[in-house]
Amino acid sequence: MAECHPVGFQWVMEAKARGAKVIHVDPRFTRTSALADVHVPLRAGSDIAFLGGIINHVLQNEKYFRDYVVAYTNAPMILREDFRDTEDLDGVFSGLDPDNRRYDNASWQYEGMEVQAASGERDLEYDKRTTGGGSETEAARGEAHGSGGADIGEGEPERDDTLTHPRCVFQVLKRHYARYTPEAVEQICGVPQDLFRQVCELVTDNSGRERTTAFAYAVGWTQHTVGVQYIRAASVLQSLLGNMGRPGGGILALRGHASIQGSTDIPTLFNLLPGYIPMPHAHKGEGLDEFVQGEAARKGYWGNMRTYLVSLLKAYWGDAATAENDFCFDYLPRLTGSHSAYETAMAQLEGVCKGYFVFGENPAVGNANAKLMRLGMANLDWMVVRDFSLIETATWWKDGPEIETGEMRTEDIGTEVFFLPAAAHTEKDGSFTNTQRMLQWHHKAVEPPGQARSDLWFTYHLGRIIREKLAGSTDPMDAPVLDVTWDYPLKGELAEPDAESVLAEINGRAADGSPLSSYEQLQADGSTACGCWIYCGVYADGVNQSARRRPGTEQNWVAGEWAWAWPANRRILYNRASADPDGKPWSERKALVWWDADEGKWVGHDVPDFKPTKAPDYEPPPDATAAEALSGTDPFIMQADGKAWLYVPSGLTDGPLPTHYEPQDSPFDNLLYPQQRNPVRQLLARHPDNRYQPSGTEPGSDVFPYVATTYRLTEHHTAGGMSRWLPYLAELQPEFFCEISPELAAERGLEHTGWATIVSARGVVEARVLVTDRMAPLTVQGRTLHQVGLPYHWGPNGYSTGDAANELLHLSLDPNTHIQEAKAFAVDIRPGRRPRGPASVRLVREYRARAGIDENTGTEP
């Protein structure tokens, strides 16, 4: 966190000054480790084993917060009789279809009830929940499941508050993690047992009624074939320990850019609409009613999905959206499969995707298997790159690595590349949404130089020009573009759209045009318009609430008048859980919100994340739906059952409980199960430049004996577009380097500040060598493991240059999020610089041949 989020780390230092203990778990010793109380080096890719070990410690030693677990989690829920755990099926769950690499999750449900997820793959349930109708593109719906299963949400799930029923979640959890012993953790992660126990004790001693523990993570957890399950493992742990919805608790996703949280709230993702409403799939005959029936939950706030969606459609299409035309629901695009960044690159290779907009990204060096990204771009008709500098994504066609190796010739490439200079955040108005869901407004300080323009300017004027060109068209295909509301006031000489007017549209308006102040005001009848229901209130009273800057010294410790956080300016989500079932704080020390019986409402330091007047003893009538169907003791109000999920009955494609699988490429066998890898990980096209490697005891695995991991340095930003061109930053970390231990240096004859060549089955790079004690050799499964650290900031362009670590990576993705496994893979390292030209391609081929790699290697389920 100190390494990649130094500004946020000031609050860790603040906590430390107040007595907090900081534990840092990371393969390498970073600037965070330097300030931590304990640093735990572990093998990259083994975190579920590590977290599972802590879960097992908590369960075996009864360290969980029992009252919290019984009242607020799904621990008491009883599972269906036909559910089979990894304990029963050698490392996979019931419902696996190995040929199509997917799960049918029907058997994962609670006994007697089907539950819809609050997020994730909600379309999984579509066929079951509607009368079906079939999908337009069955094959592309990789996650589609068989028909049948329970009808939607009738009845209550069976529960056992004694937590002793053999099929209750708690007992299933206990059995599932029983094999995650300290001995197993030591063997798999390379973490000595004493050190592991020390971590367990620190976490459990600092959790419970009086104390809370927080987890912070970044892409070290997400970029794995089991990335979502890493986070889930932390969720299980935090729910067992009672660390959710309480001050000082939670799981904090540290974001890689200033507004990555904002880019999922108002998404740049293919499968979401604003406010986490799922993008509709291409089902035949699916109207608004069918969509809501298929996707929405019966209980909880997602029961209001129709309200949120209709308000969004009104914001998009204004007067054109009427009850008669389903509020233009048919105007929304439909998913025909997964269209993530990597599938887009595959579609480029196949010639399906012809055009490409790249805003503030540098896939030619920043994406996994950078070579495939460049090959994809070489197959386009046109692409538009908007950035500060001529990044590699804008110039690969004339000076990329494939030009040097002779694999591509500039004259053969038909892609027309447009480069448009972009304005920096200091040159435009706008908001950043941080990991606390807090929107902070920034004001333009200077005009953008030359032809540089903001993304808002570009998008608005592009839309304006397209609409002018389409004017008068009667083609129904053009109607969504012609009917869209596109009427933002323009400012200044550059005709910059007013960013606050966009914020006001996102906030939403009542029928009379006045700004809304809460999503509770939204209506399903089309009388309200709201661009993102969770942001409703950010422009309450016509005031930009995100621009508030009242100092912390002038308000209470929650500091609710600094900027604005969604939803409803709550600073801690699910904070009903900070009070016990009766509505009293679990402890005075950790009091946040509580029930005031005299006033008949929830009060406290933060805005209560609960219906303000719903008493703790409220029991919903049997016919209640949506938020009304949650009881007074259901704090997790977005969940269909109001509970924290230790076990996920619906919404994940790869299992209801986090399970340790080895990374796609690993020098080790899976010690816990015969199942080596995540059986439903997402493998992309069997392209010759995307070969996977043999693992564990498979022949050829020893050709790539070292674990590698990519990461960032404080001095640079992601793929370097914002830092490598800046002399003041470039001079601080001037070259691509790899970090290795003195022991590995001795083993491979690598010299400090000399050159190393690093090879995988995909590519070869060279890097300067930094020999450091900060990379510790680990003892894993009885043998010494060396790890190679690779910062991924470099590429051939800019002021500070170097090879791109992402040349080494494969495309094997997390099946839920389609995120690459950049944080754990296997390589070889040798002294000296890499070969140049065609010889570098030959070297990789030689390695593949030596390891016996073909198109099937590593593709077993």
């Binding site: 130094p6 007595g19 600037r31 330097a34 304990v38 003041y728 001079e731 601080l732 004690d773 900060r774």
Partner: protein, 334 residues
Amino acid sequence: MTDSGSGDGLRARPDGGHGNQLYGPQHDVAGAAGYPDSPPRMGFFTDTSVCIGCKACEVACKEWNAVPEDGLLLTGMSYDNTQGLGADTWRHVAFIEQRKPLGGQEPGVSHEDVDVFDAAGRLGTGSAPAGQISPLAPDGRTELRWLMSSDVCKHCTHAACLDVCPTGALFRTEFGTVVVQEDICNGCGYCVPACPYGVIDQRKDDGRVWKCTLCYDRLGVGQEPACAKACPTDSIQFGPLDELRERAEDRVARLRAAGVADARLYGEDPTDGVGGDGAFFLLLDEPEVYGLPPDPVVTTRDLPDMWRHAALAAASLAALAVTSFVRSAGRGRR
């Protein structure tokens, strides 16, 4: 040069300690420099125990002061590719990798449960408890800690650079800081060997000397220096020197009470060889480990003596000359 000179500083001065002295404690540097109603002396307290090595200070300094980038060089010295202070580096973050326990560095320094007076009473006795948390070393390896420290011009109470400057380009500001005026400096370079810390340096392409100004232009309008403003963990603290010294004493006492026996202040002592630094540090190891001289002494300390000796020598020579003239005159008369 190793004499800390605390005794020497008490030597009686004809001006009662408020004149143009070159050595020893000086409580009113601005006043001594001729400012009648100067604001309090301002300075830096750099607490390296909370430095995270982000180098924001280096970048903010260069941005604000338009200091040029000075070359891309991978040094191999941990994450330090800056190497040291110079004409084009006014803040420098050192990175030191040590085979020493990490856990003792700062295990839970709580505001509530530390008896500062008790801790202060045990200072230097080595009886402070070791941190309870200590990571286990992997096979065959000792434990590791990574020290980071942001170095800067010390703005000495007795600044030899200023004393030797023949043009008046170097001057003492009303805030007690030492600043070079770039339009006056003629590049003679006398100040470079005069600095006991090796801070001030000539820029190769123009020959003039450059160093930290403690952001004199920002101080004048009530803003803190750029490095302190950018520091995310308050490792660099800016303020009146008296307050900073109090804060630093408190901090070092807390750290020692928490088991960090090696915590110490550097440059805070008005009786040291430079009369105390305007920019001082909390270190976690010997100064040499950070590349700092252990007992810096203002290089002009002996200047009065030298002048006295020189004057004596000159007088002797003159006397000798006169004597010989008298003698020769006498001879002539003979």
